[in-house]
């Protein structure tokens, strides 16, 4: 039986990908960002996931304003890194566990989560930067160490799905994965955030107290945290901070009680507070 062993929360700042792709991660500006992922890279190399269910948002790459699905599940065999306006990232093509993805799609709809199913899709930095920070530099001619099932969540056009909806979706994703007969070690990633605002006159907003509260409650009071209204994210964590709703999908898929095995927080990476957490299920 497939099982979910751990969850990873992490920011997906595009400039982090650029720093890795241009080999400047040792510069004083970037060094503290990457230092916080040293533990994580060892951890994931030891834990060896077979599949990562990766929750992220597309930044108007696969979806422009003409089509805005709230939840879009990647069911294609593979996903190519997209040109986001400065050329595609030099990272491997992302390969899917297509049978598991199809199973999850079917299970979720019958579980009353009405997914959009993507049989062709390019992926942007929202998906590839979390893989890069967790696995390190991987040449485009090599392969990522595991298979990836992408779930793209709309957070560009207001309203994003509520925290509660995301949390409940996480529970449904877990039911789907645990009803798949193959013996698989599955991890779930929630990405985006933390506090940041990219636009207009309040750009540059960072709120470390909010971010710390979010990380604390993610472990200790996930249900309470999932009830937070959108306006609190927008006001307290910046207009783009609302991306953090995606972390609730990850949390919902884990046990009620989890072990926090790692946390990293750093300001700034470009315009953004970088946050990262690793949560393990207790009975694995």
């Amino acid at each position: 039986m497939a099982r979910i062993t751990a969850g990873v929360g992490c920011s997906h700042v595009p400039a982090i990908g650029v720093a890795m792709d241009t080999g400047i991660t040792e510069q004083p500006y970037w060094q503290p960002v990457f230092k916080g992922f040293e533990f994580s890279r060892k951890w994931i190399a030891e834990k060896k996931p077979d599949v990562i269910f990766l929750v992220y948002n597309d930044h108007c790459t696969a979806f422009d304003a003409s089509c805005i699905p709230t939840f879009a599940l990647g069911a294609a065999a593979e996903f190519h890194p997209a040109d986001e306006g400065w050329g595609p990232r030099p990272v491997p093509v992302v390969k899917n566990h297509q049978k598991l993805a199809s199973h999850i799609a079917q299970s979720l709809v019958l579980d009353e989560f009405d997914m959009t199913i993507m049989n062709e899709m390019e992926v942007d930095h929202g998906l590839t930067v979390p893989l890069s920070v967790m696995f390190g530099e991987v040449s485009p001619d090599d392969e990522w160490p595991c298979l990836v099932i992408p779930l793209a969540v709309n957070v560009v056009q207001y309203p994003a799905p509520t925290g509660n909806r995301c949390y409940q979706l996480g529970k449904a994703v877990r039911r789907a994965i645990e009803s798949f007969p193959e013996d698989l070690n599955v991890m779930i990633f929630g990405t985006g955030g933390m506090s940041h605002q990219l636009q207009y006159k309040r750009a540059g907003l960072i709120n470390p107290e909010f971010d710390k509260m979010f990380l604390d409650k993610l472990t200790q009071d996930p249900v309470g945290l999932s009830q937070m209204p959108h306006v609190d994210y927008l006001r307290e964590a910046g207009s783009e901070g609302v991306e953090m709703v995606m972390w609730h999908v990850m949390r919902g898929a884990l046990d009620d009680e989890v072990t926090e095995v790692h946390r990293h927080y750093h300001v700034p990476a470009s315009n953004t507070a970088v946050g990262h957490i690793i949560l393990e299920n207790k009975n694995i």
Binding site: P14, A15, H59, C60, T61, D64, A65, S66, A82, D83, E84, G85, W86, G87, V156, Q157, Y158, P159, S195, Q197, L198, Q199, Y200, K201, R202, A203, G204, L205, I206, N207, P208, E209, F210, P229, H230, V231, L234, R235, E236, G238, S239, E240, V267, P268, S270, N271, A273
Partner: protein, 130 residues
Amino acid sequence: MTDKDYEDIPGTFVFDADRSREGYYLNQFCISLRLQKNRDVFNAGEEAYLDKYPMTPEQRSAVLARDWNLLLELGGNIYYTSKLAANDGINFQNLAGLMTGMGVDKYREMMLNGGRSIEGNRYKSEWENK
């Protein structure tokens, strides 16, 4: 829709369905610049390229003037307008430097020092008293 609880956040546009409707062709123009083949055509003749997108005259002139804040006021969204900026060689951080009126260096300095504090930046009323 009159009761938008997010309208009292200062210096912020929440890109909701009303803004998305107003900015549709502007944003679709911007996102077309994601691809090199389109950037080549745009850069060879901006006016002719813009003719393909039925945006308002105000939106069109804001594009030509690269008035980054006005683009947002007219329904643009940052993930779209950033593609126009990228075409001009302006990254997200430098674009923020322009939109805040701080300039690139001062903005970068602010971020290195921990970013813009939440204190005094939660409600429009706090900015009015500045």
